[in-house]
Subunit: 212 residues, 2 copies
DNA sequence: TTATACACTGTATATAATTACAGTAATATT
DNA sequence: AATATTACTGTAATTATATACAGTGTATAA
């Protein structure tokens, strides 16, 4: 029998919930008391679950039960949450005005946002809040929080976050032959041919419709 | 002295990293060995940190050190990540075609997305992927993943996810006097006056520019 | 200057927790 | 039919871990 028995499934779910609620795994005794069985029934049941790959155990230490990514059933949100949490990253949200100081200075951090690590994008990420309506044609609007991969080069047509006159701005990067320039995605604005510095490439965004 | 001393700050950071790496808190002994001091130096130091509110301790149990949300320094991503993880929720991403079955059926779950719990929105959330261009004027485009609060009523002008002809659709809810109807946010489409069922209100969205 | 917090050592103890050994019985698998 | 797995009880041993008590010395705050 490779799959879980009903009792085993209940045991795994109890452990998952316990860890979620308490922040640490239960002891054999605590589990045994919950199911009102002998400690060694649990000891052996845990061994079986480890063998099947549903949990892991650090030998010898107290509260050493660890969860694996193996889901118990299809709608197993505990496991999914666990997996997602393991892939979460916290990235700084920078303010958009660099008053002399470098934009990536620690005291320009306005907060943090925590997201699942993008699958198709590596490298250092940061976030900025969109100001103005210069990117509406690309469906990027005021207050959107952009997920940006830090880099100082870009290809033609990519949406970049750039430093322009000491301010952070989002534009389309253009480079067809001549000097590179920044193109707003809104025909009410003209292309910008002033010097700028690329801070990164936009790889994602989050929007909150309920924000005040 | 209300703030952390250098030694205390190092201690807190050690504990945070330990928990992050190992998934369980260190024992006094493990900490003492790391700093090559006596166990009771740690015991007392932990008590001081608990008193200052930087960590919490479950009395009597093994590996019972818990982190609090108090950041050690401004750029304290461990604390932020910890705080964020505590507020993470995993919500199901439903497919958009209900072939006879109810849309919220478990086997219509295409995956999960994990997000920080929206501050201004309570209730049960779910997610759907946007199809088509009927909402471009509201800056919502194909492949955007909508964060939706499950409810079956809406106010005039709210962006709703609704079930229409057994398919999930995103539209603006309209109800000015007469019968409610669904309004696309794209002038190439006409208002829809057919019967529909509101599944929820759009409270947020995420977009991945790197997706294939 | 007196009290309080910090930063420790050293010894000891109680309990928390894991692990081992020896069984029994039912069920599932080969 | 033989074997392995599940699902337990019961006793015991060992180690892991937290906590208590008695100190020492330094720095800091009232």
């Amino acid at each position: 029998m490779k799959e879980l028995t009903k009792k085993q499934a209940k045991l795994v779910e109890f452990i998952k919930k316990f860890i979620l609620v308490n922040g640490h795994s239960p002891t054999y005794k605590e589990i045994a008391e919950h199911f009102t069985v002998n400690i060694n029934a649990i000891q052996q049941a845990i061994a079986a679950l480890v063998k099947k790959g549903y949990i892991e155990k650090v030998q010898g230490i107290a509260r050493g039960i660890k969860l694996t990514e193996k889901p118990v059933r299809k709608d197993d949100r505990f496991t999914e949450l666990q997996r997602a949490k393991a892939n979460m990253i916290t990235i700084p949200l920078y303010g958009s005005v660099a008053a002399g100081e470098p934009i990536f200075a620690d005291n320009n951090i306005e907060g943090y946002i925590t997201i699942e690590k993008p699958r198709h994008s590596s490298g250092e990420l940061f976030s900025v809040t969109v100001r103005g309506d210069s990117m509406v044609d690309k469906k990027i609007v005021e207050k959107d929080k952009l997920i940006v991969r830090k880099q100082n080069t870009a290809s033609d047509g990519e949406i970049v976050v750039a430093l322009l006159d000491d301010e952070v701005t989002v534009k389309v990067f253009k480079k067809n032959g001549g000097l590179p320039y920044l193109q707003p995605a809104n025909n009410r604005y003209d292309p910008i041919h002033k010097p700028f510095k690329i801070l990164g490439i936009v790889v994602g965004l989050t929007r909150d419709f309920t924000a005040v």
